[in-house]
Every structure is written in structure tokens, then in C-alpha cells.
Symmetry: C2
Subunit: 361 residues, 2 copies
């Protein structure tokens, strides 16, 4: 099995997780310049905006970086479900003197149906492309690989990892239940084994003939050392980077991250229509009030309403309806600049590993 | 901070988890003789039976061992809830030509209300006593410590760990959400942060001035090395020992452990009245059928019904209603004799740690 670090050309077994709406090209460039792998997420933008983001990363670094896309099955629009959802949310909008949108749209195209994004990747050739929520077609994977792009896919269990391996990706991101943000399950309606990063990493490292990247609950170099012991070739950290100045998290999100709620993150599908781990806030609290027992529309249709509600509340000074994603390690978050954080992670990792040689040479 | 291994007098940072109904004195003795810490669980028996179990361990080993007790708040008997529960279960009993018990009893005394068990410990002085589901009174803790007994307490979050530290225990068992069997939450009706072992261990290692023992999803020496990197002083493994010949798991339990369901363990309160992680079986499946939406009586009142159902089904050849507890690492279970398993864990751990000195000297 190839060394993943060598294959990509990075010095440290550390990946800054792509976080749509929170990670930025400046963050990715700073991380990559520090010897780790920086990432941007373009799942929530179109190819034109993605082109600008890729250009911005490249203007900040000549080192490798990762571009993440969403590969969800396109949503099923169900009119009755959207209507019930908006009716339930209407009471919440009313608190902020606003009305819910008249109808809900599928606000993001899935990469599986986005020809323009594929063409952009084939043209601009980012060093790494990573898939979340599933896989694109075999043909798309073949074309990306032929363009020299290294491919990662998220998996939350063995069968998703096996599917990704069969499809020809180069590495598996083993996303534990601890992880912040959207859970990468391929089918959000299927039973979820909720595997923690410890069990999942160890299982995939033993059963999958591809490098494993462990993700979920890892906040420092000790956590990185731990997943390397488990057989991962690298660790992916998202929440650790949310507090960086290069993050686009707003003040309410940062306050929540560094507040007492960090100890009680929740998995919720109310904000976007797919399960995602979030800091407890006014939106997650709706599970016990206005949204109790109401079924959310499919991702990302529900997210159209969720974003509208966050904006309406924010306009009245209430920041607590944002998508304040965070993993279970949130109480260990730090507010360091991204490059400084990578250096700290490196030093802590080496200290935890007792200076065993783990860096690519 | 004292070294936990030195304090207890064990050679390996490995603890065989106490598992009421599954671990045995023979298992504990074999594990302790192999240099780890063996455990028995006496939460489901009275002081007379516990005396015999402690004697059986001592007849097999002169090495230290651990005796575990349940410290749940005594159950509230709610007649209506018990009646509804029995009515719902009646349909399941009927499938096996049986009837549910006429009423349900609180089948286990909590250690917090068991004077005979306390007297037994003060007399027999097991080297370690561990608490699950909460803590006994400060007076009890003081008497056990004065008798020279080292005390562990399970915690699933920072506030439980802080309470245990304030109460004067000697070490915290950081039980991740991955762990098999009963979740150690002090209050099963409070919101559960569901922290995985990675985040929980790292959090407690940084915030609690006591040795941390990591538990949940650890199945091999790589997992032990990982939690040592996270700052734990030892790892506690339960599911890893269920398949040992010294375990009292019946054949149906062993078949389930080594079957495909091992990848899909479930947290369920249906069997005992408290959340516990179980292999998917006929009992856990009742969540979608006869027990859908029915509230279980308090632990251990519900367990009275659960055990009766398991026995009724077993009498007709159906073993799938047992308490087949297992953690998320279940797919990595092995059927080695306990002493051989401890040796394998040791070798794997040293290999993962690159032969750093981690054994007590």
C-alpha cells in the first residue's frame, strides 16, 4: 500500500477538513503551506465560484490541497412534506417578524449531476478531490483519476468503505460518529451504526486495502498519534480549525464553540435535512418545540428553510439559528491562526509518539 | 499523579471489564495471572453469592483483581408503566406459549442501599472496587478507602467525572458511547452527550487530576496504544473477552457476536430499562413492533420482564432475546482463552507503541 503522504506530497499526516461555509481558501493555503493538507469545500457553490476558490488557494500556496464535493442522491421533492415543514417553521419565523419562504428549492446541485464542476476539476486539476455523502459514477471517477487527481471518499461503515474501494478511490476518510457537521452516510434513511472513530478506524484499517484517514473527535496531536496507532495514515480535523481567524465562522458560532454547549453537541437533521453534528443552539432546540415530530424535507431542500430562518433571526440580532457545526471534541477547540495550529499539532503529535519517525521523507 | 498500574500492582495497562452475567471468576483469575487486571461484576447478585465469587477469584490467583457494583438510584416503581409494559410484552411471550410475570420486581439492590455488600468488601478487601451508574455515599467511599481498597468510577462526561473526583475515587473509567453493555450514565433520564472514547478520554485526561481508564470500542493492542496516546493510563476491554472460553456467554450470544450483526450494535433501553449497547437481536427488534412507543419501567424493574422473556423464548429454542451486550468493536472479537488474549493484546500494544516503555517496573 502506497504511503498516502508520499502519494499526495505532504509532510504531515494531518488534513484540515473541508467545511462548507466555514473553511476558506486562506485557511487551506495556510494549512498546506505549514506542511499539512488544506481543504476547501465547494459543495455549496457552483462551478464559477469554485473556480474562484481554487484560484484563491493557488494564489496562496503551491503545495497540494483538497477540494471537497457533495455526492448525495438528488433530493425527492415532496410537496406535502415541504408544506408541513414550512407551516411548523412559520411560528419560529414569526418570532423574528418574518415569514418563511413560499416554497423550498434544492439549493445545491449534487456533484453526481454537476457537469460544470466535473469539467472545472478536469481543467484545473486540484491535487486531491474528496467525496462526501456517496460516490459519483465510475466514469467520473475514471476521468478524475486519468487527470492525475487523488480521490478520497468518506465512509461511516465498512460497506460504504467497500463501495468506495470498489469504485476506485485512493483513500477512505473514516468519519466517526463524533465528527462535526454533516455525517457522510450514503443513505440518510438507512439505519446508522453510529460507529465511533476508534472502532471504525480499526475496522477499516484491517479490512480495506486502501489508506484510511481517521476523522471525528480529533483535536490535538495526541489524537493524531492515537489514530496513527489505530492504523490510519492520516488524521482529518475540522472542529479544531473552526476557531481559527481564517475561518468564516461568525461571532455567534465562535461564541457557541467556546461556550458551555461545546460539551453537548447534538446530531440533528432539522437544519439541513441530513444528520449533522451541531453545537446546541436555538435551532437544535426546536426538536422539543415547533419541530417536534415533524419530518424534515430531503437534504438540501430543508436547508433552504434553515438558511432563511438563520438569516431572518440574524437580522433581528439573534445568531443562534446558524449551522454551528462542531464535533464532540469541541471543548478542546483553540483560536490559533491555522499555521500556528498545524505547528502545535505537529509538536504534540511528535511528543505523543515519542519521536517515532512518522513524517514522510 | 500516581501511576495507576504501580498503585494497583499490575504489569500491563489492561483491564478486563466487569460484565455482569458474562465475566466469571475463572476469567478474572486468568486475566490477572497474565499481568492485566481481571474483574468480576457482583451488581446482579447478593453478598452471599459475591462472597463465593471473590473466593473463586482468590482460589485462582494471588494477583490484584477488581469487583464491580451498580450504584444506580433505586428504581421508582410506577404501577401503570409496569402494567403497560407487560401488556405490550404479552404478545411476545404468547409467541413462545408463555405469559409475562404477574408483576415486576426491582431484581437487584443498588450498592448504595446494600449494607451486606459493603460489609463483605470491608471484610474481604478486594484490591479494587469499581462503581457503575453513579457513586455511593461519601461515608461508604471513606470506609472502603480506609480499608485500603482502590476505587474506580465510570463516567460518560466531564461532570460525572468531576463528581467522582470530588467523591474521592482513585481513577475514572471513561466510558465512550461505543462501549458494550450498560451505559454508565448517572441519570438515564438526562440528555446524553454520547461522547465517543476519543473525545471523552482526551477531555478527561486534560481536565481531571486522576488517572483515566479508557473504555469503549477497544479490541486489540493498537486500540490500547491509541488510548495511552490520548493520556489514559490504562484501557478497559469488555467485548474483547466475551468470546473467551472462560466467559459465560451462551451459544446464541457467541453466534451473534461472531455473526454479521456485530457491525450494527444498538443502544437500547428495552431489555433492562437503562440504555445498553447490544448486538441486534429479537429483543432489540421489538423497538419497531410490540414495544414501539411504549415507555420501559425503570432499571432494573424492566430487566425482570426482559429476563423472563429471554427464558421463555430459550425454553422454546429461541436464544435471540438474551442480553447480548457488545460494543462497536464487536466485528474484531476473537475466541481466544483469556490468558492468550492478554498476551496477544500485550504484544500488539508493544508493536503499536514501537516498544516504548509502557509497562510498570
Amino acid at each position: 500500500m502506497d504511503s498516502l503522504m508520499k502519494r499526495i506530497g505532504i509532510q504531515l499526516p494531518i488534513i484540515q477538513a473541508p467545511m462548507a461555509g466555514t473553511s476558506t481558501p486562506a485557511m487551506a493555503a495556510a494549512v498546506s503551506n505549514a506542511g499539512a493538507l488544506g481543504s476547501i469545500a465547494v459543495g455549496a457553490v457552483d462551478a464559477t465560484a469554485a473556480r474562484a476558490m481554487i484560484g484563491a488557494v493557488r494564489s496562496g500556496t503551491s503545495a497540494p490541497f483538497n477540494v471537497n464535493v457533495f455526492c448525495h442522491a438528488p433530493a425527492k421533492a415532496e410537496a406535502a412534506r415541504a408544506r408541513d415543514w414550512l407551516a411548523a417553521l412559520g411560528h419560529v419565523f414569526a418570532r423574528y417578524g418574518a415569514e418563511p419562504p413560499g416554497d423550498l428549492r434544492e439549493i445545491y446541485a449534487s456533484f453526481v449531476a454537476d457537469e460544470a464542476m466535473l469539467a472545472l476539476f478536469l481543467e484545473t486539476r486540484p491535487p486531491v478531490v474528496s467525496f462526501h455523502f456517496g460516490l459519483p459514477s465510475g466514469e467520473t471517477i475514471g476521468r478524475l483519476k486519468a487527470a492525475g487527481i487523488v480521490l478520497f471518499a468518506s465512509a461511516t461503515n465498512l460497506s460504504e468503505a467497500e463501495a468506495a474501494a470498489r469504485a476506485g478511490v485512493d483513500a477512505i476518510v473514516a468519519q466517526g460518529y463524533e465528527a462535526g457537521g454533516h455525517r457522510g452516510v450514503f443513505d440518510p434513511r438507512a439505519p446508522d451504526s453510529q460507529l465511533g472513530v476508534m472502532a471504525l478506524t480499526r475496522l477499516l484499517a484491517g479490512r480495506i486495502a486502501l489508506p484510511v484517514i481517521a476523522a471525528g473527535g480529533i483535536m490535538d496531536g495526541a489524537g493524531i498519534a492515537a489514530v496513527l496507532d489505530l492504523g490510519a495514515q492520516a488524521a482529518q480535523l475540522g472542529t479544531a480549525f473552526v476557531g481559527c481567524p481564517e475561518s468564516s465562522a461568525d461571532q455567534a458560532y465562535r461564541d457557541a464553540l467556546f461556550g458551555p454547549g461545546a460539551a453537548m453537541t447534538e446530531m440533528t437533521a432539522l437544519i439541513s435535512g441530513r444528520p449533522a453534528r451541531c453545537l446546541p443552539n436555538r435551532f437544535t432546540a426546536l426538536k422539543d418545540t415547533e419541530l417536534k415530530g415533524v419530518a424534515a424535507p430531503d437534504y438540501p431542500i430543508a436547508y433552504d428553510a434553515g438558511k432563511a430562518l438563520a438569516a431572518a433571526a440574524r437580522a433581528k440580532g439573534e445568531g443562534g439559528f446558524g449551522a454551528q457545526w462542531a464535533g464532540q471534541g469541541a471543548p478542546l477547540a483553540r483560536a490559533l491562526p491555522a499555521a500556528e495550529l498545524v505547528r502545535a499539532l505537529r509538536d504534540e503529535m511528535l511528543s505523543a509518539l515519542g519521536h517515532r519517525p512518522v513524517m514522510a521523507t
